[in-house]
Symmetry: C2
């Protein structure tokens, strides 16, 4: 029952769709090519990003596999590198790509077997805000979980911070996550120990969607102690990654991954960060991408708040102390990224049948439990919960003290 | 032994000076008039401020005592009041002044008996930055303590905050006070429980000058539990007030007093403040007076940091976490209020004999204890300590790990 909310899914229909219509065939060929390119090039590699942008994924794969780039492209890359005084051994880079070539079909099948699905640019589920990353845009994203990625990220905030967080930090992170979740916002983080885990847990506790962006394959449980957490994230949100299944995390991958955490949401909150924390790297990406950068202050006697205070003091981050303050800020970016939702951000017609049935089972006033919604909509409880999460992220429904209800127009 | 550092003192020489020279006689007559006006009008009364500005203190006292203002002044005040839609019963106000008239000579003598001295505009010890308060400038200040007020305030920072401070707040306030003191800055505060007391104690622990600005007479110990603290402040700094001896504090007086705390220093640091704290009032004065306004963050879970976070979040205060950060900020205001001291801010010639002897006893390198300085300068230890405090505030000397030494040019 791992169907995405919308009919953008790549589940059982895929094999059929791939062979029926020529247009779909081309799209599936591109998808398979991207899957292979994700294995061949390291995520975030701007050379591969530009190669795909220039020739499309199928031709890019063809060039990468045979180890010979179009002369025009190779010349341009060499010029770019020398202009920025960067060393670029294009021959070795491409040879590396070729050496890591693996049959796209096999890769693809392996991913699906694990319950993961690949979402690529052009898919309805692709979060278009990632396009702001230009030539460092992910080649594609492997997704594992019940939520719809685009819906979940429409009204989302990233919460990041120290792995070695204090009790204060994890308390604040989980309260922020829960506060955002209760107000219909989803939480994006990195699935790590400390602040990340607390933020995910807070969102889950509020019944909200949460997205864990990993620096390894979605099937690799890192840190291992977060197995239970990732299971919960999958059932109410998504575990996603730019790395193919089986890939293990490395230090550079964490840093490369951070740009996706920053790009997916409307703003990033740094909860606790020591002077040289990786969370500051995510914050830097958020600022570079014109997202809101926020930081939570803490005791000045605490080493893990030094980075937050520096961000605030230097005017790089806004000081925030509650979910309301975060929403005050990111809600106002409406004109830049998405309209401030007075009601839902998508038309009802865009919903699939199942989701629409769930939406119709949600009362306008009061509130009702997910089990009652499931019965009224004629779906099972897990499906009802997943649909409700997606509907909440899209601004259709919200949770009150008395349960789920339609979201009121402001 | 309550002699100020400089020859601006009003001690035993006063009676002699008052009758010897006509010019001095006029100044002493003005001083006595201001002393009486401080008893008659409430501190900070802008009508009295304008009356003194227009006619001088002697004529102002004459008009206030007989209860009849110059018609020109009365007309202007009535116009001012009606223009600002403010109610002003000038007749009652002036009748109140007249009713509180007390013989200036007697008031004056009483103050001196208590060990206090009156400093008024025009005196060498008057801190001219108070002139920024315009018609709310204090009519005069009663001082009790060994430091020189103008010297002590030349390089000073105000630290204010909640009376009901947390352990976190008092720790931070005393560390800030000590850190500023160690770097040659004096600390101004309100002598209250909580943050104020901790800030004074921190400065005292660093051997620095500290100034307690009271909302009652300098002889009134409020809060009573601070008797010991005020004694220490008097011996290394000053207890000062715009209210005559014997006056008791009232809620409005605390608020009126706050503008003096803000005006005396180059910047005000709010350490802990709840949402409606009086410290925010002081902070507002600092900002209005173009002083630096700073706030120390704290746990977002703490009610007593809510006011600080609001100041930071709204961009009204700069987030500071250490004495170094405070000095980075207030040190740069040089062009506005005082030159950034490369060496001392006053020429050596401005020092009196005793202080110059103490200065000559301080080594350029290493460091020496106050007792050794006292012996070399031929003064007693208390005098040596008082002179060293004044010299430190004026930027001549500093304390190193090894004791007192000449301050190095930066």
């Amino acid at each position: 029952m791992r169907e995405p909310l919308e009919e953008t899914g790549r589940g059982g229909d895929r094999a059929k769709a791939r062979h029926d219509v020529p247009e779909d065939h081309a799209r599936e060929e591109e998808r398979a090519a991207r899957s292979a390119l994700m294995r061949m090039a390291e995520a975030g590699d701007p050379v591969m990003g530009r190669l795909i942008a220039a020739y499309g994924p199928v031709s890019a794969l063809e060039q990468a596999r045979r180890g010979g780039l179009e002369p025009e492209f190779a010349r341009r890359e060499a010029e770019l590198a020398s202009a920025s005084r960067r060393r670029l051994d294009l021959t070795r880079l491409v040879a590396g790509w070729a050496a890591r070539y693996t049959d796209p079909e096999a890769l693809f099948a392996a991913g699906l077997e694990q319950g993961a699905r690949l979402v690529v640019p052009g898919d309805a589920e692709w979060p278009t805000q990632l396009d702001d990353l230009a030539d460092r845009r992910p080649f594609g994203l492997w997704l594992d979980g019940r939520a719809n990625l685009r819906f979940a990220c429409l009204r989302s905030v990233s919460i990041v911070g120290a792995r070695a967080a204090t009790a204060y930090g994890t308390t604040v992170a989980s309260e922020l996550g829960a506060g955002l979740g209760e107000r219909g916002w989803s939480v994006i983080s990195g699935g790590a120990y400390g602040i990340d885990g607390a933020a995910h847990r807070g969102a889950l506790a509020a019944g909200a969607a949460t997205v864990a962006v990993l620096a390894c394959g979605t099937d690799v449980c890192y840190p291992t102690a977060h197995e239970e957490l990732f299971r919960a994230v999958r059932s109410h949100g998504l575990v996603i990654s730019e790395w193919p299944l089986g890939c293990h995390p490395t230090r550079p991958r964490f840093l490369v991954r951070n740009r996706v955490i920053a790009a997916l949401s409307r703003g990033t909150v740094v909860v606790e960060a020591a002077a040289r924390s990786g969370a500051l790297n995510t914050g830097g990406h958020a600022a570079d991408l014109n997202r809101h950068l926020m930081a939570v202050p803490g005791p000045v006697t605490s080493e893990t708040s030094v980075g937050c205070h520096a961000l605030i003091r230097e005017g790089r981050a806004v000081c925030v102390t509650s979910a309301d303050e975060v929403i005050d800020l990111v809600g106002s970016i409406g004109t830049d990224l998405a309209p401030r939702p007075r009601g839902p951000v998508l038309p009802r017609d865009a919903l699939n049948d199942e989701t629409r049935r769930v939406l119709e089972a949600v009362p306008a006033r009061g509130g009702t439990g997910p089990a009652a919604v499931a019965v009224a909509a004629g779906v099972d409880l897990t499906t009802a919960l997943a649909c409700l999460g997606g509907l909440a992220a899209a601004g259709f429904v919200e949770q009150s003290n008395r349960g789920w209800r339609l979201r009121r127009s402001r």
